[in-house]
Structure formats: structure tokens, C-alpha cells
Amino acid sequence: MVFKKLGLAVTFSPNARALLKTAKRLQELSSAQLCLIHVGDKSKSSETQLLTLLNDVGIDENKYEMIWQNGEPSKVIIDTCSAKGVDLLIAGALEKESLLKYYIGSVARTIMREAECSVLILTNPSEEQKPFQKFFALVEYSDIGETALDKAYKFAKLENAKELTLIKEFKVPGLAISISDDNSTLEIEKKRADWKSEEETKLKVFANELKLTDIALKTVCLYGKQGWVSSNYVRENGGDIFIVPSPVKKLKLFDRIFQHDMEFIIKQIPCALLIVKSKNY
């Protein structure tokens, strides 16, 4: 089982139905529990409206837990998830926010940065439910990196995905400086190619070590600014879902000004994004 308890913030926005349908599909797929969170007053009319919506989508009333809570939306959602033991929070988000909103932080972006559980962000949820087929996973050689890859692999298997592409980014800062001491661009090009091949072999060894044998696996090593190159690669290659290990610390405003690797992904989300957090986050 990939996730045991799914959480979804329910709103009456145009995307609400699509998000509920996705939550329902994923709940059935991984036989998980579902926790629905509505930020706002529990009035007769809103309750009726919500029940109609859930009926429409076909979520059985015995198969979810409903939480009504007032307060600042992102805080309520994050706190409720922690209190209720949700291990995957599903939320909708714009692919890209306005510059001001990006820095101030929208509800969805705050959730991505601060939630203690894993978060699945859908930028373009559709009512017509289709399993994710093209999985991309960002590799990090660490404990959280292994956890994220393990989730990606299990999730891809559940979805019966076509392929899982493992992406490893690397960069050697200051490489171009060595040109100023007369290393020619050709030499640097060659060095970079050698490093790339070394990284590729390492990535294959890593995949072998984790026994990811039941799915068509592809490995890619990218040179460049971390977070940015992988995000672009996933977008250009039409990824359905991008799975990334979460940073070790919560992302703050400072991480937006001096961009953290993850902020490059969050700023312009390439497709559905699953941020995997470790248990002791």
C-alpha cells in the first residue's frame, strides 16, 4: 500500500468535482481511508451542497470522514492532516502563480511547503479519470530519496504505468571558471560527458540496489541547476506525474528569494506533483 489515509480539502470551486473524483480513484486504488476537510462554517446549506457534490461523484458516505473547521485555510488543512494522521494530502493548484502571490504564498503553495505529510498537487484535474502513465521520479541518494523512490515505484505499479523515469540532477559549480585558466571548452565538454556517464552508471547501480524490476525503467542524468532542469525535462517529455523527495526543512520566504531547488519545481509545476515527506518530517 502506497498511502494509508488520504486527505482532501473540499471547496466549492470549479475543480472540486475533478479533485474529488481523483481522491476517490486513488482511495480505491490503494484501499486507503479518506478524510475530507472543509474550511468554513458548517451551515445547513453548505452541508447539503457538499453532500450533493459527494453523491454526484459517487463517494459512499461510509467511506470518508468529514471535518469542518474554521480558520486560515492552509493552517487548518495542514493541522487537520497532522491531527488525523493523513499521509497523503491531495490538493489542486495553479501551474504558476502571479509573482506577488508566489512570494506571499497561496494556500496550495503553503501546503506544498509546510505540510507534514506527503502532498499530491494536481494542476489540471480532470473529471474524466485516467491512471497516471508516465511517471518521473527525482532521485536523491539519501533516506528520504529512497523513501520517495519506493513510493514512486509502488504507485507506478498500482497504476500499471507504462514507464518510470528516474532523474538524477547534478551540477559542478564553478566549472566554467576553470576555462579562465585555459581549460578549453572542449576539455570541459569532455569532462562533463565523463561525469554524466559516471552519474548514469551510479543511477543504474542505485536502481539495481532497490530492485525496481517490475516496471519499464528509464534513467536520465541531467546537468544544470537543480530543480530547474528536472522540472523542465518532465514538462518537455509530457510527464503525467513527477515524484520528488521533500526538502529536509520546511521552505520559508528566504527559500523563495534565494531559491531552494524545490522552489524551482513549485514555482512552475510541470504536471501532477507528488512531494514525498519522511515520517519524521
Binding site: L175, A176, I177, S180, D181, D182, K191, V205, E209, W228
Partner: protein
């Protein structure tokens, strides 16, 4: 003042001579495995009053001192050279890396500045005459200058050394490059403040105003300017010809920055440097573009500056052994102790810490730029400048060999071939996979004081997960345990042993790899190296024929 046709002739002739000699001696320097910049500086010393000027004073004067107009024109070129040099230096400063560096790099960065700066400052403040101060009233500024001049690591020399030693893409390489970048940024900010204190302020602003303006400029560029440039760059890339459009944009911005800082009373090079950082931070500035900009500056502008250093100073007349030695001692002590301690406190071993210390010890361009400006401002005498240049040359030349010595001593950055020691290679006739693994574990634990039981259980646990029998007669059982450095043992089985290999072939080479638990990437790196090195059957068959351990190591080195 106009340039006469004769002036123009001399101007181009002197430029041609400067560029030619810079390149020629620079090439000799590279041939001798020394930094290019060292050759360029030596070329200037040869062309200047030290050698050429004293042997052929008439020719020297007619080429480099013919008229005021030519001197001004040449001076303009030299300023342009330094501004370009600082612009490209800035572009390669990775601001995010400096800000987000890990614990070890932060400690090395901070200690690498604090130690040399305080040592230099203290000695220069309390014994200013010993270090050749020109005006005792400028004691504080002089002490600040000496402290700063000892603190800036030469980034290009560091990059070349890391490249030559093949440790650019390693943990130690990253720590050194991140710290050197931090040094650069810090050094230039202090340097600009010193210039303000010297009274280079052309617009008569108060010192306090200048510092406020300076920090506002840096903050604005790092917080807002950087983002604006990042926003504009993709459009320049899209709508202009390549790479000219971007190159033009970068240089135009650099020159605007230079003009601005000169206007507010800080030297032009500081503006170019900060603009360089803001431009280099953009993810839209492609790696190829960076390289083109680097080449452009390196081959044309930087040599003009470096060769000009020795052009008007007699290095023999101004050579003061006392000052030179003192500068050298301060330079070595400050950096090696400071950076070494930083690395050690950051968790590196003693050998690695020394490697970091010596790696960070190289000085070069920045000290000399600083020295040139201090000399022009009358803060230092020529003999201090000469000592500074010699210090830069000696520290740069000695950095690579000293660092290499300690990198080799610290086994962490060795390739797997260097990690194989004869005492850990043996020929086996074991009958089963578990028997040979036991023999390998015995071998490693006997020589390296490791708990045999623990090692064996770790290796077997990994083996149960999935067999490490690979293809082409190769097996690499492995485990991560609590050890500081990786260990390798090799068993050779002449007939091959059943190892549940992927291709079903029996394993003839069984390589046990034990790596530190806290470094999962090192295990992957070594596993990748081993499987790459033994990638064909013939090679393994030949190695399996080795009669004893040294024979095996010799064969391995020959076949690699």
C-alpha cells in the same frame, strides 16, 4: 588630447607585444603544469623595468612610455581588462551555493576569512613599519588592506587545481569551491569599504553614506536586480542572435554596474562584479554562454591586466626579503590554519582538512587587483606590492602539489584501483558463495579492526536482498558499515564459483566493497567504477590468471 597616427601605431604595437608575451609565457606556464595567470604575470615582469626595461631602456620607453596619450589609452585598456575580469568572476560566483552551503563549507568559508584577516590585520596594525606602510596615519586602513589581501582565495587557480587533481566533482571539491566563492564576495565588499576609507570617493560623499550606498546596491542587486535580469534573459535569448545578443546584454549590464559604483564612489570593478553575480545567478544563462564569456575575457582582456602588473615596477629593486617572507608566512598560516580548522570542525579528517587548507591557500588576481589599487591610492609602497605579487605566485604554485599530497593521504577520494591493497587480494578455492564471502570478510576485518561478525552479517543481509553476482564472471558483494574510509578485498577463483549471477556464469572475480554508512553515494560511485572497469570477459579472464596479489594489481593497472 588626440592620438596622433604615431601614437596609434605605438598603442597597437605595445598591445600586440603585451598580448603576445602574455600568451607565450602563459603557455610555458601551462606546459609546466602551473596556472596560466602565473605566466602572464611573469611576462609582465620580463617586459617591465625589471628585465627588458633595464636592459633596453630606450626601446622600453618608446614602446610603453612614448607619450601621455598612449599611456592614457593603455590605462583605459587595463581598466577595461580588470572590469571584464571581475564581471566574469562575478558570473561564476554561485550565490545560491554560497547561501545554501552545508555546515563544513560554511565553517571553511568563515574561518577561511576570519583567520587570515585577523592575523594579517593584527600584524599590520601592531607592526606597520615591518610590513612597509607608506603613511603611518593610514594605519587602520593599511591593516584592513593587509587582512583583506590575505583573505581572498584565487578562484580560477582553485578551479584549475580541482580539475587537475580530478576532485572537482567531489565533496572536498564542493567545499573548496563554495568557500572560495564566499571569500571572493566577502573580500570585494571589504575591499570597497577600504577604498572608501582611503578616500577614493570621487564625489566627496561621507564614508557612512558610501557604505550605506554600497550595501543598498548589493542588497538591491541580490534581492530585486537578480530577479529582473532573470526575467529579461529568456527574451534576449529568444529575440536576438546567438551568442552575440546575450554577450552584449551581459557586457552592457556589467559596464552600467561599473559606471554606477564608480559614480557612487566605489571602484568600477565592484559594480561589474556584483552585476556579474546577478547575471550568473540566472537559470536562463546557459552553460555554453558562460563558457563563451569566460573565453572572451580570458583570452583578450585578462592577460592585458596581468601582464601590465609588472610593466611599471622593478621587481629586483623593490624586492625586500623581510616583507616577502612575512607576507608568505602570514598567508600560509592564515589560510591553512583557518580553512583547515573550519574543515576539521565541519567533520573532515585531518588529512582532508589539510587538503582544504592548502587548496584554499592559492592567491592571485584579486590580491593583485587590490594591491594595484592600493598602490595607486598611495596606501602601500612598491616593495609591499612586489611582496604581494610574489606571495600570490608562491601560494598558487604550491597549492596543487601540497593539496595533492593530502588528498592521496586521505583515502576517501581514491579510485577503487588505488584502494586495492596487496594484503587484501588472494586466490581462493572456496566451494560456495557464502564461504568466499566469509573469507573476504575475514581478510578485511583482520587488517582493519572491524568486527568480523558484524561485517559478515551486513554483507549477507545485502546478499539476501538480491544477489550481487553480476555478469561476465564478476561479483561485488558489498555493505555499508561504520568506518571512515572505504575498504576493498578481492578473491580470485580460477575456475569460477556459483554466485546466482545475472548471466548464470560463475564468478571468477569476487570484489568485496565496504563503505562508510554515512556516505551512500560513495558506495554507488565505487560500485559504478568497479562494474565499469571489469566490463568484459577477456579482461576478467586475464585478471583471474594472476598468480599472486601484486601480479593482479599490476595486471589491473595495465588493463585500465
Amino acid at each position: 588630447m588626440n592620438l596622433s597616427p604615431y601614437d596609434i601605431t605605438i598603442f597597437f604595437l605595445s598591445l600586440a607585444v603585451l598580448l603576445f608575451f602574455a600568451r607565450a609565457v602563459g603557455e610555458v606556464s601551462r606546459y609546466l603544469k602551473q596556472p596560466l595567470v602565473i605566466g602572464e604575470i611573469i611576462a609582465g615582469i620580463i617586459l617591465g623595468p625589471t628585465i627588458f626595461g633595464s636592459l633596453f631602456p630606450d626601446q622600453f620607453n618608446s614602446l610603453f612610455n612614448s607619450s601621455q596619450a598612449v599611456l592614457v589609452a593603455l590605462q583605459g585598456m587595463i581598466v577595461l581588462g580588470v572590469v571584464m575580469l571581475l564581471l566574469v568572476s562575478g558570473i561564476e560566483i554561485d550565490l545560491l551555493l554560497i547561501i545554501r552551503q552545508g555546515k563544513t563549507a560554511s565553517l571553511v568559508s568563515i574561518m577561511g576569512v576570519i583567520a587570515p584577516f585577523s592575523i594579517g590585520f593584527a600584524i599590520a596594525y601592531f607592526f606597520p613599519e615591518r610590513l612597509g606602510i607608506s603613511d603611518i596615519n593610514m594605519r587602520l586602513v593599511f591593516a584592513l588592506f593587509v587582512g583583506t589581501a590575505l583573505s581572498i582565495t584565487a578562484l580560477p587557480v582553485v578551479a584549475r587545481t580541482l580539475m587537475d587533481l580530478n576532485i572537482f566533482k567531489t565533496e572536498i571539491g564542493l567545499v573548496i569551491i563554495a568557500s572560495a566563492m564566499f571569500n571572493d564576495l566577502f573580500g570585494w565588499i571589504i575591499f570597497s569599504i577600504i577604498l572608501g576609507m582611503i578616500g577614493q570617493n570621487t564625489h566627496g560623499q561621507e564614508f557612512g553614506t558610501l557604505v550605506i550606498l554600497l550595501f543598498s546596491f548589493v542588497l538591491f542587486m541580490f534581492l530585486v536586480g537578480r530577479k529582473i535580469i532573470n526575467f529579461i534573459l529568456p527574451y534576449i535569448d529568444k529575440f536576438t542572435t546567438k551568442p552575440g545578443g546575450i554577450l552584449n546584454f551581459v557586457i552592457v549590464l556589467g559596464f552600467i554596474g561599473a559606471a554606477f559604483t564608480e559614480y557612487i564612489g566605489v571602484h568600477a570593478i565592484f559594480g561589474a562584479f556584483i552585476l556579474g553575480i546577478a547575471i550568473g545567478d540566472s537559470e536562463h544563462l546557459k552553460e555554453e554562454t558562460r563558457e563563451v564569456i569566460q573565453q572572451f575575457a580570458t583570452n583578450i582582456f585578462a592577460p592585458i591586466f596581468f601582464v601590465s602588473i609588472g610593466l611599471h615596477i622593478n621587481f629586483i629593486q623593490n624586492f625586500d626579503i623581510g616583507i616577502v617572507l612575512l607576507f608568505l608566512i602570514l598567508a600560509f598560516a592564515g589560510k591553512v590554519i583557518g580553512c583547515g580548522l573550519g574543515a576539521y570542525w565541519g567533520g573532515m579528517t585531518k588529512e582532508e582538512s589539510f587538503a582544504v587548507g592548502f587548496g584554499m591557500n592559492s592567491r592571485g588576481a584579486m590580491e593583485i587587483v587590490l594591491g594595484t589599487l592600493a598602490l595607486q591610492a598611495g596606501l602601500i609602497q612598491e616593495k609591499v606590492f612586489v611582496a604581494l605579487v610574489i606571495m600570490a605566485l608562491v601560494t598558487s604554485i604550491s597549492s596543487a602539489p601540497l593539496m595533492n599530497y593530502f588528498v592521496i593521504k586521505s583515502r576517501r577520494y581514491l579510485t577503487f584501483i588505488d584502494l586495492i591493497k596487496p594484503e587484501n587480494v588472494f586466490i581462493t578455492s572456496a566451494a560456495t558463495k557464502s564461504e568466499v564471502i566469509k573469507e573476504l570478510c575475514n581478510r578485511i576485518s583482520a587488517y582493519h579492526k572491524l568486527s568480523n561478525e558484524k561485517l559478515l552479517s551486513e554483507v549477507m543481509a545485502r546478499e539476501e536482498l538480491i544477489s550481487t553476482g553480476l555478469e561476465k564472471h564478476l561479483a561485488i558483494p558489498h555493505a555499508k558499515v561504520n568506518i571512515p574510509n572505504p575498504l576493498i578485498a578481492v578473491a580470485i577463483h580460477k575456475d569460477g564459483i556459483e554466485f546466482d549471477s545475472l548471466d548464470g556464469l560463475p564468478a571468477k572475480l569476487i570484489v568485496l566493497l565496504v563503505t562508510p554508512k554515512n556516505n551512500p553515494e560513495l558506495q554507488l560511485k565505487l560500485l559504478a567504477e568497479i562494474s565499469k572497469a571489469f566490463n568484459n570477459v577477456d579482461k576478467i579472464n586475464k585478471l583471474a590468471e594472476s598468480s599472486h596479489a601484486t601480479d593482479f594489481i599490476l595486471n589491473l593497472k595495465q588493463l585500465s
